[in-house]
């Protein structure tokens, strides 16, 4: 039957290793997900097309200012461009689909938080592993002296 110190050491070691792995996976995953989303993103002006705006020769009613959106549905992109060459995103289509366009700045911010959290987890896990190793070494030294 293992003594209590052994059990604690094993739990500490296992938990710390898991935290390191999860933390590292989070850091790597944040890069991968962000890069994947960036590949699908571009600068768009969200536009609501109306007969009123077309009467005055406008492409539509701009909704907010141009943003970098992650767009995976090509049907959401309108033909043509805005005044400064920005691509146009169909606001009516997105609202009918219940889609709230994801902004790249939000993805970047969340990725930053994930990397920070993942990095802290790796550090905490590494600390736990070091502590477990020291305890094991101390046990071995105590055991060899007795």
């Amino acid at each position: 039957m293992a003594r209590p110190a052994d059990r604690f050491g094993r739990i500490l070691r296992t938990t710390s290793l898991a935290v390191v792995v999860l933390g590292a996976a989070t850091v790597v995953g944040s890069f991968l997900v962000r890069d994947q989303m960036r590949a699908s993103s571009d600068r768009y002006q969200l536009v609501r097309k109306t007969s009123q705006s077309e009467l005055f020769g406008d492409v539509g009613e701009p909704i907010g200012s141009p943003q970098v959106y992650v767009v995976t549905d090509p049907q959401a992109v309108l033909p043509g461009t805005g005044a400064d060459g920005v691509k146009l995103l169909d606001d009516d289509y997105l609202r009918k689909k219940g889609s709230y366009p994801l902004q790249m700045q939000t993805v970047d911010a969340i990725a930053d938080y994930a990397r920070l959290g993942g990095g802290l987890a790796v550090l905490a896990g590494a600390g736990g592993l070091l502590l477990a190793r020291r305890r094991s070494a101390q046990r071995s030294a105590t055991g060899s002296r007795s």
């Binding site: 007969s51 009467l55 909704i63 200012s65």
Partner: protein
């Protein structure tokens, strides 16, 4: 005789010029107006919008002057996320139960080049009124089969303007979880299509 003719001519010209001032009604149809509030932060840029705005705008296409008053239903502002809409209406933010509307009142218009105007007026939000000066684009179109096809009655006036609003000026303090998610200064943009019919 000469004096009489001169006075009559002056009266005729005055009447003709005054008759150029037209009143354009806003709010007849959901797609004839759009009020937006845009908040830009590091985390997210979001826009709240509503089509519930009513009022009237006067405009003289000859003199290129005018004015107007528009009332906006703040409870109808939609940011795309229902929970955020609820927070926005609450007492710590727009407090729409106490202050259900925002009011734009324009009392000075100065024509610039092309369709550009310098506009000065009063903006009232949450019971606080501030003077605002901004640039506006105003385009006038006489009644025609094209305007009728677009859903208008009579002459049409398109007005576009935007101006910054510092929330703390109107008693709105950003604190707690909203810090960094809502800008201290938001951008209000308006598009109105008024019609004389």
């Amino acid at each position: 005789m000469k004096l009489t003719c001169w006075i009559l001519s002056l009266a005729l010209v005055s009447t003709t010029v005054s008759a150029q001032t037209k009143t354009f009604k806003v709010g007849n149809s959901p797609t004839h107006q759009l009020v937006q509030v845009e908040s830009v932060t590091e985390l997210e840029t979001f826009t709240g919008r509503t089509e519930k705005a009513t009022g009237s705008i006067t405009f003289d296409p000859t003199k290129r002057t005018g004015g107007g008053r528009i009332t906006v239903d703040l409870a109808s502002l939609d940011t795309g996320i229902p929970l955020r809409n609820d927070h926005m209406r609450s007492s710590g933010w727009l407090d729409t139960s106490s202050y259900p509307t925002a009011i734009f009142e324009v009392n000075s218009v100065q024509a610039r080049a092309n369709n550009q105007y310098s506009v000065t007026g009063k903006f009232t939000l949450r019971g606080v009124t501030k003077t605002v000066t901004t640039q506006a684009t105003v385009r006038h179109m006489k009644a025609s089969p094209q305007t009728e096809k677009a859903g208008f009655k009579g002459d049409v006036l398109q007005v576009r303007a935007s101006f910054p609003v510092k929330l703390s000026d109107y008693g709105i303090k950003i604190s707690g979880p909203a810090t960094g998610k809502v800008a201290e200064t938001v951008r209000v943009s308006v598009t109105f299509y008024g019609q004389t019919g």
